[in-house]
């Protein structure tokens, strides 16, 4: 049993790394598409091996540790960040009957582990002994602690409707229609809030204050180079995938095909599409939306960022949760 688990774990890590290669390529191509340019097009067919070349470059770079830094914390921070982001993948159902870790408190697990990544970022910023890094880390801390609330509340609204914290059961509850469609307006609001808040939690533009290049040079990873820097990049893309996968699972039915009420023939055709395609299709759709944000919006200022959460998103999601609860009690959903 142990061997099986080890093999599964290693193959999951390998899968995530390959996935991040693809996400890096996708981000460059999406950015290029929005910026009237071509993007990588030299290394490999259509530039698809550019990321591999970049990784090789990073592997051969010297992993500098500044003299004045706290050496132990400085070197361990990238691993904290990567490990926490990889842990979150465990309870996600990639396809029908394919789940690595069927934990009955999946939603709780996901939201608690994903908020631990900020510890790594804070450690990185503190141990670098650089003012820019420290400011980036403090920004990141303030940001993730705030937006965690909205993410949690919007996830809870679906938990209320389903009556279960188990991700698998949440997927199965969407057999007759995804929550986004059968949950009326409150669930749509929760979905929008989830997307906004989780973009902020990912530290991606327009909420990329922790690494605001124009203000803090590179924020918390200013002092990092080589593979240690690549670890932060890796965790950013894994987080991007995880957040999109959670959104797809909770709101868009995970691997569940698109079903329309009593249209038997239509539903049958939909069932022929493999469930793994459904899952990744939805996930990549949300990834594309989050990338779209990044390449079209300017960055918020730190006080505006916190205002947005505490003055708008949090009150809205609290009221929304009450609405969802009333809806669940009165059985107003389909």
């Amino acid at each position: 049993m142990l061997t099986v688990n080890v093999i599964l774990g290693v193959s999951l890590i390998a899968f995530l790394v390959v996935l991040c290669f693809f996400l890096g390529y996708m981000e460059r191509k999406v950015a290029a598409f929005m910026q009237v340019r071509l993007g990588p097009n030299r290394v490999g067919p259509k530039g698809s091996l550019q990321i591999v070349a970049d990784t090789i470059k990073l592997l051969f770079k010297e992993g500098l540790t500044p003299d004045s830094s706290d050496r132990f914390l400085f070197n361990i921070a990238p691993f904290i960040v990567v490990v926490t982001s990889m842990l979150v993948v465990a309870p996600i159902a990639f396809a029908k009957d394919f789940q690595l870790y069927d934990i009955h408190i999946g939603v709780l697990y996901v939201s608690s582990i994903s908020s631990m990544g900020v510890i790594g970022i804070l450690v990185a910023g503190w141990s670098s002994n650089n003012k820019y890094s420290l400011m980036g880390a403090m920004r990141s801390g303030a940001q993730i602690v705030s937006y965690e609330l909205s993410v949690g509340l919007s996830l809870i609204s679906i938990v209320v409707l389903t009556g279960s914290l188990n991700l698998n059961e949440i997927v199965l509850s969407q057999q007759n229609g995804w929550w986004l469609f059968k949950g009326h307006i409150p669930v749509m609001i929760a979905f929008v809030i989830f997307i906004i808040a989780s973009t902020a939690e990912l530290n991606r533009a327009p909420f990329d204050l922790a690494e605001a290049e124009q203000e803090l040079t590179a924020g918390f990873h200013t002092e990092y180079s080589g593979m240690k820097f690549a670890m932060f990049l890796l965790s950013e893309y894994i987080n991007l995938f995880v957040v999109s996968a959670i959104a797809a699972t909770i709101f868009l039915g995970g691997w569940m095909p698109f079903h329309l009420g009593t249209w038997e023939a239509f539903n049958h055709v939909m069932d022929y599409i493999p469930s793994v395609l459904w899952f990744f299709g939805k996930t990549f759709f949300i990834i594309f939306i989050i990338m779209w944000f990044r390449w079209t919006f300017p960055r918020l200022r730190i006080d505006q960022l916190l205002n947005l959460e505490w003055k708008y998103l949090l009150p809205i999601s609290m009221i929304n949760l009450i609405l969802v609860t009333v809806m669940a009690i009165m059985n107003w959903h389909f």
Binding site: A212, Q214, E215, P298
Partner: protein
Amino acid sequence: MSLLGEDILTEEGEFIINMGPQHPSTHGVLHLKLWLNGEEIKRVQPHLGYIHRSIEKMSESLSYRNFIFATSRMDYLSAHMNNEACALTVEKGLGIEIPERAQVIRILMSELTRLASHQLWWGSTGLDLGAVTPFFYAFREREAIMGIMEETCGARLTQNYNVPGGVMADIHPNFQKHTKEVMQQIKSKLDEYDDLLSGNVIFEARTKGVGVLSKEDAISYGVTGPTARGSGVSCDVRKWAPYSGYEKVQFNEILEEGGDSYARYMVRMREMKESISIIEQLIDNIPDGDFQAKTKNVIKLPKGEFFQRVETARGELGVYIVSDGAASPYRVKYRSPNFSNLFALPIMAKGGKIGDLVAIMSTLDLVIPDIDR
């Protein structure tokens, strides 16, 4: 408090950050010393001298034909206007009239330069505020203008097209056709610029009410150009002291009353439209004749002092030449727009956040080599 106060921390909890000389948003080797309390800026102190090339001193040993071209390296985004200012000063000293054709070509080239400069500014403003995409859109149009420059002047950035007495060579046969095409292209894309950045909620939140420069402060700090016009100070040299025949073209001086970063942004956005209108008035009416007045091979200015100012893309550039009758200037002094504009930064940034400082710097549109020279 004096501008260059002592380097001590006045309050507990304050700390100093050196922004630059190597920093992504200072657009060059500007060094700002920031006194911070958390994110809030208590004091800003600019440090200069990282790109000083002593252009003014160097000019004292260059001939009147050659010293003009050193100014291309001052404000390299309005290189043509810098050259024009020097050429005009020398012409003033010589007391020669330059042909009308040369004047019109100079205006056309100046306005093209202004457009290209404002486009680069627009792109980098987006970049500074965290939106990468505008940069590529701005460069698409800027590239077209650079193409015209390359065709006629032989150079794209530091054109070196002005000489005492006119311009160095006649315009390229395709100049009018290409310019018209490019103007059409830019006109159709300016709305796209507004869609992408101007109306964006985040952009407005980042710039409105940020870095307010009052009219009085603008005047007392000697701020000029779009920065001053954003505070409602009418200071367009093209209107107040027309040169090169600017009195013959119809255009409006753009004024905004806000004094904040958004007002400065809007001034430049609207100025681009005015520049297009100036170019469209002149492009079909380039008079025939010489492109250069006859001058002696070795120019010698009579003994005396000569001053000429022009409106560059960033403000008022003044050229002051003292001549002792020799073949090269006795003393040259440039009054560069960016120097004065930069020193309004400390009062604008005070009390703001670090993000505000970046927004203010990008709407000041600083070109660092012009500050140090």
